[in-house]
């Protein structure tokens, strides 16, 4: 059933069909809308799991279940899709998180309600996300990459946080959601404009090395890049343009400032999807596009990326320590964790890139769960100020327990998912690719390791403020409803996933390793 790209296309577009169906359901019939959305997301998830089972792990370095069809013949942009070991975990992750997001939404609707529109946006988002991970044509990739923007923009802009904020320095007040939504949209669009320029530059020069046929195919471009045909100033500028586009999405210091605002303002499900999947689009693009197509330039830029990544780790951890808002703290922590992922990528070694991918998956499940928890807690307490919380463990033992567990996972406790990404990217930084400055990367390793201490610090202090102590007078005597069935249904799979990946990392490495090894061998010659 996965032949000729049918299964894969189904996984990508089924949510979109679902969005259409949900749209056709009368607005009043919310139950049916939810069921439909869940059914479509569920079937997509099941398909992606079947895909993972049908996947030939012995040939994880080749693109499987792919299709190659005419699409826009005028510019020779083709509908090329396929999964290899690198994208497979991310495809499964994104369908997985989508299902959980819908399950969680069942009883938790941010104002102004309107489940129909919300579900439609989630499903459209799902198509964009999975599409990005399977696209093997730059224009197709670009389209999916941008499809993701709009639903998220509306999610933040419509269902977002309605508190007034004052923009520092400029002293203007505006609603949080509007500010965050516009910032998110424009920031990302700014990056992707440059990215598109980079793609076009590759396209127009690819003909010279490809028998006169200009192409957007990532595979073909990688072949050209592998032969080292692009060079000099040209490849520098192309890499720079693509770097700008991807780095905004990751996000890397100092292009990260949209992220705390967007996460804080977004509705719970929005932040979950944003953190769990959207950020991975950037890092994935580095692995899939930048490195194989412009390997020589990647070598030149590695030190720069590594330094920015480590600055991001330390900087974000310190900024976390200053946060008073729980959700904003988690948002900043994402910047730090993605720093580890980027450090792994910057080493350009197979261990580093493996670390990056497991780091992405782990960050997806862990931070996704953290945002779920932060959302549910602010839903109950009507505040995210950590100073006003406290004694949560007493008021809601189960939720407090899950929060503690997730915080532990987030600070990189071995045996849980977060550990492998952190530890292995540090490991990779000790021995970066030949030709990169060992001294620099080893320094980065030490600084990054110090970052883990800071991460432990802010997470533990957060736990102390939120979970421990006696409940403050504000909440004492309040009856709080502990984790309800929908929350449990959405969270339990994440908890299991965190444990499973932590104890048995082969779940991810089994798929990625061969693909990564081949990628590194081809791009950097081993």
């Amino acid at each position: 059933m996965f032949d000729n790209g049918w299964g894969l296309s189904l996984i990508v577009f089924l949510p979109l069909v679902g969005a259409g169906v949900v749209m056709a359901i009368p607005k009043a019939n919310e139950e049916l809308q939810k069921m439909t959305a869940l059914a479509f997301a569920g079937v997509t998830f099941v398909l992606s799991v079947l895909l993972a089972f049908a996947f030939d792990y012995g040939a994880a370095d080749t693109y499987q279940f792919g299709a190659d069809l005419n699409w826009i013949t005028a510019i020779n942009s083709r509908y090329i899709i396929g999964v290899d070991g690198i994208s497979l975990p991310l495809v499964v992750l994104s369908t997985f998180i989508t299902v959980l997001a819908i399950v969680y939404s069942w009883e938790h609707w941010p104002e102004p309600h309107n489940p129909k529109a919300f579900l439609v946006l989630i499903l459209v988002l799902a198509t964009g996300m999975t599409g990005t991970f399977v696209a093997l044509d730059l224009i197709l990739f670009f389209v999916f990459f941008e499809v993701v923007l709009l639903p998220m923009y509306f999610m933040i802009g419509i269902w977002g946080d309605r508190n007034e904020i004052t923009i520092p320095v400029f002293k203007r007040t505006t609603e949080m959601r509007l500010y965050a939504a516009i910032k998110f949209f424009l920031f990302t669009l700014f990056g992707s404009a440059f990215m598109l320029l980079g793609f076009l530059a590759l396209y127009f020069t690819s003909g010279d090395f490809n028998g006169g046929v200009n192409t957007f195919s990532i595979e073909v471009l990688s072949e050209i890049g592998r032969a080292g045909l692009w060079g000099g100033t040209f490849s520098f500028w192309v890499f720079a343009a693509m770097f700008l586009g991807f780095a905004v999405k990751v996000p890397m210091f100092p292009l990260h400032t949209w992220l705390p605002d967007a996460h804080t303002a977004a509705p719970t499900v929005g932040s979950v999807l944003l953190a769990a999947i959207l950020l991975k689009l950037g890092t994935y693009a580095f692995v899939r596009i930048s490195l194989p197509i412009l390997p020589d330039e990647a070598r030149n830029w590695a030190w720069f990326i590594g330094v920015l990544a480590v600055i991001g780790i330390i900087y974000a951890s310190l900024a976390c320590l200053a946060q008073t808002d729980m959700k904003r703290l988690i948002a900043f922590s994402s910047v730090g964790h993605m720093g580890f992922v980027m450090l792994g990528i910057a080493t350009l070694t197979d261990i580093g890139i493996n670390a990056a991918i497991i780091g992405m998956v782990a960050h997806g499940v862990i931070t996704g769960l953290l945002f779920f928890l932060a959302g549910s807690m602010s839903h109950r307490y009507h505040t995210r100020e950590m100073a006003r919380l406290g004694g949560n463990q007493k008021l809601m033992p189960v939720m407090g327990g899950i929060l503690g567990f997730t915080a532990m996972a987030s600070l990189g406790l071995p045996g849980l998912a977060g550990f492998w990404g952190e530890f292995m990217s540090l490991l990779a930084a000790f021995n970066p690719l030949e030709g990169l400055s060992q001294g620099l990367f080893r320094t980065l390793m030490v600084i990054g390791a110090v970052g883990t201490v800071l991460a432990a610090g802010y997470l533990l202090w957060m736990l102390q403020k939120v979970n421990f102590g006696e409940p403050s007078e504000e909440w004492a005597g309040h009856e709080f409803h502990d984790v309800d069935q929908w929350e449990m249904a959405a969270w339990a799979p994440l908890v299991v996933a965190i444990l499973a990946i932590g104890v048995f990392p082969r779940i991810v490495f089994g798929a990625t390793n061969d693909a990564v090894v081949q990628l590194v061998a081809k791009a950097f010659g081993g």
Binding site: P168, V169, F419, L426, F468
Partner: protein
């Protein structure tokens, strides 16, 4: 058994062949030792509350299993042929050897279990001491609000330690290492309603995490330069000798880094600050933490990597660092114990001091001596903590100023506590005497035999003096503690009573251990322990004294007796000694001890508060006011420019736009005429359109 393995075994026996046993079927199932507690910890969380004993039964049963398994292995290993077995389960491969351009491209993630002398000794200690503490905890924790949860995390604590000691590779060791850390966090913060307790838990976790940076880096250095994280592979490289191998190039820094990791868990100066605060947890936790698990992990790590620290061309040049750190810890923390009022804190600082002894021994190259002290210390320190817990249980206070005269009320506790104190002070023939004496002998040997790079004679002799001083101090503060607690008048408010049997029986068991465990390794008479822990893949190059050094033994005993005498003079007789005690309050020194050398203050005011406060705020400010200034500035600038463009647009370009809009309006107005709503008029138009179309087709 491959070639190098055979060679190494010859090396291990220092000339004589040792029959090695692979442990038979018993060794194949050692993986159960770490796995059962880990699984049971989760089982207790989910099902403990519904079980008849509310989780205690499962926890104690688990520890009973470990204790039984550990004892059987220990007996087999000690009295039979030494066991060596390594089991491995392959979890994942990262990277590819075929790339091979540089070392460490292939990394295997493995789970395994190590069955050798060192591990077996740890299984035994953790199992037996753990079981007794678990039994004790049933009485001590009775009525606790989180009784089941306590036993779940307690089981996790022991399980983490067992994962650590069963690890045949550095990565699994790190896993266990961190699990112990997180379990200790949960247990220290068990009474998290109090802010202080959760702060103590965080302090413990963070201090350990700082040290873990060292462990991570050390493990990465060793692992990547060997190309494997397996101890057996690392030992193989070391066995081949130093020279130009990658491992020996990194050896010094890797050694230091690993030792920093050990300093965290084993609470060495200046990373010792978390351990006294860890008293915030329930007493059984302190007992287990100080005796068998957690703090022994650092010493265990050095023991596991011992050849690395001991072979020429590797990290032997870091040994002077280890000795100095150990000696500093030994003396400085012992002195702090003198001024503590909280009985648990006295014991905590005493633990620090004893850990100093172990580390000194390790630094001096005395593998057996250090581990033997670890072994005996586990029994008497657990005993002392449980005794203290029994007292606290009786008087509902931690402070010795609320105790006194308890000898009459709680005889069993008194006698066992006394045995523990004597063992700790190193009184012949209790366990502590034998182990401490061996350390003194080893340090003296180090002083006369080691090269300058390894520390040299001067350092060796200096440390020997410190160790003897430490013995004096130890005896002194233990005498003080015993007299303040059990002698004199009772000063507390509650009505003291002897603890229930479930608490006193473990005390008796541990007291027996404190008496007899020393006999396992009497120099010149028995060497069961030496043979037992020495059975491992690469000889630790130990120098085990052939016979007892009578002079050193006498000096050590004299120091202990002197300490007891001074303690007796100062604390036993009451009224007239008050003046003497006052002179004891030496101006500068006493406050220095009371403030714990200001180290905690320095950490809080010098590092933690600035980082959490100004530095973090500065970063946040930078984020909002500098980075976002650029972003927002660009946004507002664009909007400002937009206004001018709009103004231009209104006056200039809008002519055309308005014209087109007007045209649209006009055409709409015209077409409006045709929209009458009359079907027939529409039909006319349809037919007209058809005619025109057909005409068009026909004509053209």
């Amino acid at each position: 058994m491959n070639a190098w393995f055979a060679d190494l075994m010859v090396l291990a026996a220092e000339g004589k062949e040792i029959e090695l046993s692979d442990g038979g079927v018993l060794a194949d199932f050692v993986w159960l030792i770490p796995v059962v507690p880990m699984v049971m910890a989760f089982v207790i969380v989910f099902f403990g509350k519904r079980s008849p004993l509310k989780g205690w039964g499962m926890a104690a049963g688990t520890m009973g299993f470990v204790a039984l398994y550990g004892t059987v292995l220990f007996l087999m290993n000690t009295f039979g042929d030494p066991i060596y077995h390594e089991g491995t389960v392959h979890l994942a491969d990262i990277g590819s050897q075929t790339l091979g351009a540089h070392i460490g491209d292939l990394m295997a993630i493995e789970w395994g279990w190590m069955v050798d002398g060192l591990s077996i000794m740890m299984y035994f200690v953790v199992g037996v001491v753990g079981l007794l503490v678990f039994i004790y905890a049933k009485g001590y924790m009775h009525g606790d609000i989180r009784y089941t949860w306590f036993f779940a995390s307690f089981t996790l604590f022991a399980g983490g330690m067992l994962v650590l000691v069963s690890a045949p590779n550095l990565i699994q060791l790190i896993v266990g290492w961190e699990l112990v850390g997180v379990a200790s966090y949960l247990l220290i913060g068990h009474y998290w309603e109090e802010h202080e307790n959760s702060s103590a838990a965080i302090k413990a976790f963070l201090t350990n995490k700082v040290a873990d940076v060292g462990l991570f880096i050390g493990a990465i250095m060793v692992g990547t330069s060997v190309g494997s994280f397996r101890f057996s592979e690392i030992m193989a490289v070391i066995g081949e000798g130093g020279g130009d191998s990658a491992l020996s190039r990194f050896a010094f820094w890797a050694g230091i880094a690993l030792f920093i990791g050990a300093m965290g868990k084993s609470a060495q100066f200046p990373l010792h600050v978390w351990l006294p605060d860890a008293m915030a947890g329930p007493t059984p936790v302190s007992a287990l933490m100080h005796a068998a698990t957690m703090v022994t992990a650092g010493v265990y790590l050095i023991g596991r990597m011992f050849p690395f620290y001991n072979y020429d061309g590797f990290a032997d040049e870091t040994r002077w660092v280890i000795i100095i750190i150990g000696a500093l810890t030994l003396l400085l923390t012992g002195l702090i114990a003198l001024v503590q009022d909280d009985i648990k804190k006295v014991l905590a600082y005493s633990t620090l001091s004893q850990l100093g002894y172990m580390v000194v021994a390790m630094g001096a190259g005395a593998y057996t001596a250090g581990l033997f002290h670890l072994f005996t210390h586990a029994f008497f320190k657990a005993l002392l903590f449980l005794g203290a817990g029994s007292v606290i249980h009786a008087v509902h206070s931690n402070n010795m100023s609320d105790m006194g005269g308890l000898r009459k009320y709680m005889p069993q506790t008194y006698w066992t506590f006394l045995i523990g104190s004597a063992a700790l002070a190193g009184i012949f023939p209790l366990a502590g005497f034998w182990s401490k004496d061996e350390i003194l002998a080893s340090v003296s040997y180090a002083g006369s035999n080691y090269t300058t790079a390894q520390g040299g004679a001067a350092l060796g002799n200096f440390v020997l003096v410190i160790a003897i001083l430490g013995a004096f101090v130890t005896a002194f503060y233990m005498t003080r503690a015993v007299s303040l607690t059990f002698f004199g008048e009772y000063k507390g408010k509650a009505h003291p009573h002897e603890s229930p049997k479930v608490m006193t029986y473990p005390l008796i068991g541990l007291a027996a251990g404190s008496v007899v465990m020393g006999f396992l390794n009497m120099p010149g008479i028995t060497s069961f322990f030496t043979d037992s822990v020495g059975a491992r893949i690469l000889a630790p190059l130990d120098h085990h004294p052939e016979s007892i050094d009578v002079v050193l033994a006498l000096i050590g005993t004299a120091a202990a007796v002197g300490g007891i005498a001074v303690g007796y003079r100062l604390w036993f007789a009451d009224k007239e000694t008050q003046k003497l005690r006052d002179t004891f309050h030496i101006p500068v020194l006493y406050p220095l001890l009371e403030r714990k050398y200001y180290i905690d203050d320095f950490y809080m005011d010098g590092i933690v508060r600035p980082v959490r406060g100004p530095v973090a705020n500065a970063m946040n400010w930078f984020n909002g006011h500098v980075l976002d200034f650029v972003v927002n500035g660009a946004g507002f600038l664009a909007r400002g420019v937009g206004k001018y463009v709009y103004a231009f647009d209104q006056r200039g370009l809008d002519g055309a736009i308005n014209a087109s809009a007007g045209a649209t309006g006009a055409s709409g107005g015209f077409l409006r005429v045709f929209q009458t709503g009359r079907v027939q008029q529409y039909a006319v138009m349809i037919f007209a359109g058809t005619v025109l179309l057909v005409a068009g087709f026909i004509i053209f």
